[in-house]
C-alpha cells in the first residue's frame, strides 16, 4: 500500500527554529519586511476602503503576506507570477502601482495591466484554471531556451479541481520549470480542509505527479523564501517542477461579503491572529537587532503613504469611457462585434 514516509509531513521552519537563511543579509531581510508591510497595509486599507464604498467586494489576504512576500523575493525578475484573487496585490512587489490594483477592485479598466510589463499574469478568478497557464508558460520558456521560471499561487480548495490536476501533470511530464505554490489556509470559503481532501497532507499529491513536494510553515516568511528559492533553483537548472504546500490559516473572512462566524472556529482564529505572520517576523528581526521602533515606524509610514497616494491616484482617474467595452475583445474584431441593440 502506497504511503508517504511520515517524516515528510513536518513543516519546514526558520523563524521558530531561530535559524538563519544562507545568503540573506541585513538588506535582504529588511526588504522582505518592507514587502510584508506593504502587503499588510494594502490589505488593511482595502478593507477600510471597501467599507467606505471606495472599492467593491474585496478578497482579504491578511496573514497571507509571508507566503506572498517570501515566495516572490526568492524569484528573479524574469520569473513569472500567476496570482489568484488572493494574491491580487502581489504586483506591488514587482513595482506595480497600488492604484492599478485598487482599480481592479473598483471595476475600473485601469486595473487591467499588461502581464509582460511586470511578469505578473492577470488575477485569476476561476479557481485553479491558471495552473495550466503557469505550466504552459514555464514549458514554453524552456522550449525557447530561456531560463525563466513560473510560480502559480492557489489555495487548498483549488487542489480539488481538474484544472489543477491537469496542469500539475503536464508540469511533471514536460519537466516544466514551474513552482506550484499551494496556500493551504485550511478553508475554501466555508469548506474546511477535511471536506476538501482525505489526504493526510496536500503535499502528498506531489508524488502522484512525480515531482518533489515540500511542506512549509506559511506563516514563516523565511521558510517560504528558502523553500521557494530551492524550488526555483531546481527548476532553472533543469530539475523540473516542485509542489510547495505552505500551511497557514485564514484568520479573516474569505472576502468582505463573507461572515465566517457561521462556520469557523473563532477560538482558533484568535489563536492564529496572535501568531500572525508579520508580528512573527518583526519579533525575529528584533531578536536579530535589525529592527527598532523607529525603523518600523518609518517602514509602516512609507507603506501608508504609498496607499494614500494609491487611492488618491485611483480616485483621480476619470471614469472610463464606455466605448472601452469594444476595445481588446479581439485584436482584429469581427464586423458584428458591436451589434447588440437592434441589428
Amino acid at each position: 500500500m502506497a504511503r508517504v514516509a511520515p517524516g515528510e509531513h513536518e513543516l519546514r521552519r526558520v523563524i521558530d527554529d531561530d535559524r538563519e537563511v544562507d545568503g540573506l543579509g541585513e538588506h535582504e531581510l529588511l526588504q522582505l519586511y518592507r514587502s510584508m508591510v506593504l502587503l499588510r497595509t494594502y490589505d488593511e486599507r482595502s478593507v477600510v476602503y471597501h467599507r467606505q464604498g471606495r472599492i467593491g467586494t474585496y478578497a482579504i489576504f491578511w496573514n497571507h503576506e509571508a507566503m506572498q512576500a517570501g515566495a516572490v523575493h526568492a524569484l528573479e525578475d524574469e520569473d513569472w507570477i500567476f496570482p489568484s484573487y488572493r494574491e491580487s496585490a502581489i504586483g506591488l512587489l514587482r513595482g506595480m502601482p497600488a492604484a492599478t490594483i485598487l482599480h481592479w477592485w473598483r471595476g475600473h479598466p485601469a486595473g487591467w495591466w499588461n502581464p509582460a510589463d511586470y511578469n505578473v499574469a492577470s488575477i485569476c478568478v476561476p479557481i485553479a484554471t491558471h495552473v495550466p497557464h503557469a505550466v504552459g508558460l514555464a514549458w514554453g520558456k524552456k522550449l525557447k531556451g530561456e531560463s525563466a521560471v513560473s510560480i502559480a499561487f492557489f489555495g487548498d480548495g483549488a487542489t480539488s479541481e481538474g484544472a489543477f490536476h491537469e496542469g500539475a501533470n503536464f508540469a511533471g511530464v514536460m519537466q516544466a520549470p514551474a513552482i506550484l505554490f499551494c496556500n493551504n489556509n485550511h478553508w475554501a470559503i466555508s469548506t474546511p480542509l477535511s471536506a476538501q481532501t482525505h489526504a493526510a497532507a496536500l503535499v502528498d499529491k506531489a508524488v502522484g505527479y512525480g515531482m518533489p513536494g515540500v511542506r512549509v510553515d506559511g506563516g514563516d516568511v523565511l521558510a517560504v523564501f528558502e523553500a521557494t528559492r530551492e524550488a526555483a533553483e531546481r527548476a532553472r537548472s533543469g530539475g523540473g517542477p516542485t509542489f510547495i504546500e505552505a500551511v497557514s490559516y485564514r484568520a479573516a473572512p474569505h472576502a468582505t461579503a463573507d461572515d465566517p462566524r457561521a462556520y469557523i472556529d473563532l477560538e482558533r482564529v484568535e489563536q492564529e491572529k496572535r501568531n500572525e505572520c508579520l508580528g512573527r517576523y518583526e519579533r525575529y528581526l528584533r531578536r536579530l537587532g535589525l529592527l527598532g521602533d523607529e525603523l518600523e515606524a518609518e517602514i509602516k509610514n512609507d507603506a501608508a503613504e504609498a496607499m494614500r497616494a494609491g487611492i488618491a491616484a485611483a480616485e483621480a482617474e476619470p471614469e472610463p469611457d464606455a466605448d472601452l467595452l469594444f476595445e481588446h475583445a479581439y485584436v482584429d474584431p469581427p464586423p458584428g462585434m458591436r451589434e447588440g441593440s437592434d441589428g
Binding site: G56, T57, Y85, W104, W105, R106, G107, H108, P109, G111, W112, I123, V125, P126, I127, G157, A158, S160, E161, G162, A163, A188, I189, S190, T191, A195, Q196, T197, A257, D258, A262, Y263, E319, P320, D321, A322, L324, L325, F326, A329, P334, G336, M337, R338, E339, G340, S341, D342, G343
Partner: protein, 324 residues
C-alpha cells in the same frame, strides 16, 4: 402567502421539496455550513442533516459527475454551481452524460437531477461573476432549462425541476435575488415547465424576455406608456418552450423585440427570432429585433451598464420598429 425575496422563495422551495421527498438532496460548494453564498440553501443542513445537504469539494465536474451516479443510486440531487461562469467546468459532464444517459440506458434509468446557479450581470462584481450562459445549456439535447423572473416563479419552477423526471437547469437572476418582495404561495407550489407568463398585455409590440430582462422590459413598457401598447412575455422556460404563447403574441402585435443579456452571436434570442422567421412570417409587420449583450467579454463593472440591455436600448428598438 408570504412576501418573499426571490432568494427566500428559493429557500422556501427547498424546505418544501426536501420535506416532501426524502430522495431529494442538495449538494455544492458552501451550500451546507454557510447555507450558500447567497443563502439560498440556508437552514437545510441543520434541518435535514449533512447527508442531504452536502458541502462538496471545490470541483464542478465532480459535483455533476457524482450527481449522475447518485441518480443511479436512487437520489434526486439538486446541485448548485456557485456562479454562472464557474459552471463551465461541468459542461463536459452535462453534454456527454447528463443529457444522454437516460437515452443510453434505453429509457431504463432516469436522471432527475437539477443544476441551479445564480447568473447574470449588473451586480458590480469582479470578472466572471456576471455571465449568462443559457445558450451552452439549452443547445444540449436531453436537458431542460428554466429561468424565473419573480419570487413565486423561482419557487414554483424549482419545485417543478426537482419533480421533473429529466435533468433541468435553473438559472436564477442574481440581479433580482433581493430586489423586491412579492407574494409567494405557501407550501406545495409548482409552476409547470413550458408555460410562459404574460407579464403585461398589449397590442402594438411584444417584448420577449426571461430572467432579469423581464422587469427591465416592464420598465421599458412603462416608459412607452401613451406611445405604444406593449405586451411583455416572460418565457420562464426556454426548453420546453411555450412556442404557442410566442406565436400568439407575435400574431397579435405583429412586432417583436427580443431582449437577452447574453452575448448576441448565437444566443437564445436568435432561436426565438428564427422561430418567428419560420412560423410567423405572415404576421410580422417589421423585422424581428434583438436587444442583447455584445460579442465581447463581459466588461469591468464601471462600464457594465453599457453592456447590459437598458430601458433606453429597448425603448429605442421599439420606436424603431414602430416607425418601420
Amino acid at each position: 402567502m408570504a412576501e418573499l425575496l426571490m432568494v427566500e422563495a428559493i429557500n422556501d422551495a427547498f424546505h418544501v421539496e426536501l420535506d416532501r421527498d426524502d430522495s431529494v438532496m442538495v449538494m455544492g460548494e458552501d451550500v451546507g455550513r454557510a447555507g450558500g453564498v447567497f443563502r439560498a440553501t440556508a437552514g437545510l443542513r441543520e434541518r435535514f442533516g449533512d447527508r442531504r445537504c452536502v458541502d462538496t469539494p471545490l470541483a464542478e465536474a465532480g459535483i455533476l459527475g457524482t450527481a449522475v451516479g447518485l441518480c443511479m443510486a436512487g437520489w434526486r440531487p439538486v446541485t448548485e454551481m456557485q456562479y454562472d461562469a464557474f459552471s463551465y467546468p461541468c459542461l463536459d459532464q452535462l453534454i456527454t452524460h447528463v443529457g444522454r444517459y437516460h437515452w443510453r440506458t434505453g429509457g431504463g434509468m432516469e436522471f432527475p437531477l437539477v443544476i441551479r446557479m445564480p447568473y447574470g450581470g449588473g451586480v458590480r462584481a469582479p470578472e466572471l461573476h456576471d455571465d449568462s450562459p443559457e445558450t451552452y445549456y439549452v443547445h444540449t439535447p436531453g436537458v431542460k432549462v428554466a429561468i424565473p423572473s419573480t419570487p413565486a416563479d423561482a419557487k414554483g419552477l424549482l419545485a417543478a425541476a426537482i419533480r421533473d423526471p429529466d435533468p433541468v437547469v435553473i438559472f436564477e437572476p442574481k440581479l433580482i435575488y433581493r430586489s423586491e418582495r412579492c407574494e409567494v404561495p405557501d407550501g406545495d407550489y409548482v409552476v409547470p415547465l413550458g408555460k410562459a407568463r404574460l407579464a403585461r398585455e398589449g397590442t402594438d409590440v411584444t417584448l420577449v424576455a426571461y430572467g432579469a430582462m423581464v422587469p427591465l422590459c416592464e420598465r421599458a413598457a412603462d416608459e412607452l406608456e401613451g406611445e405604444a401598447s406593449v405586451e411583455v412575455l416572460d418565457l420562464r422556460s426556454l426548453k420546453p418552450l411555450d412556442e404557442a404563447a410566442l406565436l400568439a403574441s407575435a400574431a397579435k402585435t405583429g412586432r417583436v423585440v427580443i431582449v437577452q443579456e447574453a452575448p448576441r452571436v448565437n444566443g437564445f434570442a436568435g432561436e426565438l427570432a428564427a422561430i418567428l422567421a419560420e412560423k410567423a412570417i405572415l404576421d410580422l409587420r417589421g423585422p424581428v429585433l434583438r436587444v442583447t449583450g455584445y460579442d465581447v467579454p463581459y466588461p469591468y463593472w464601471k462600464i457594465e451598464d453599457t453592456y447590459m440591455p437598458s430601458v433606453e436600448r429597448v425603448v429605442g428598438a421599439v420606436r424603431k420598429l414602430l416607425a418601420f
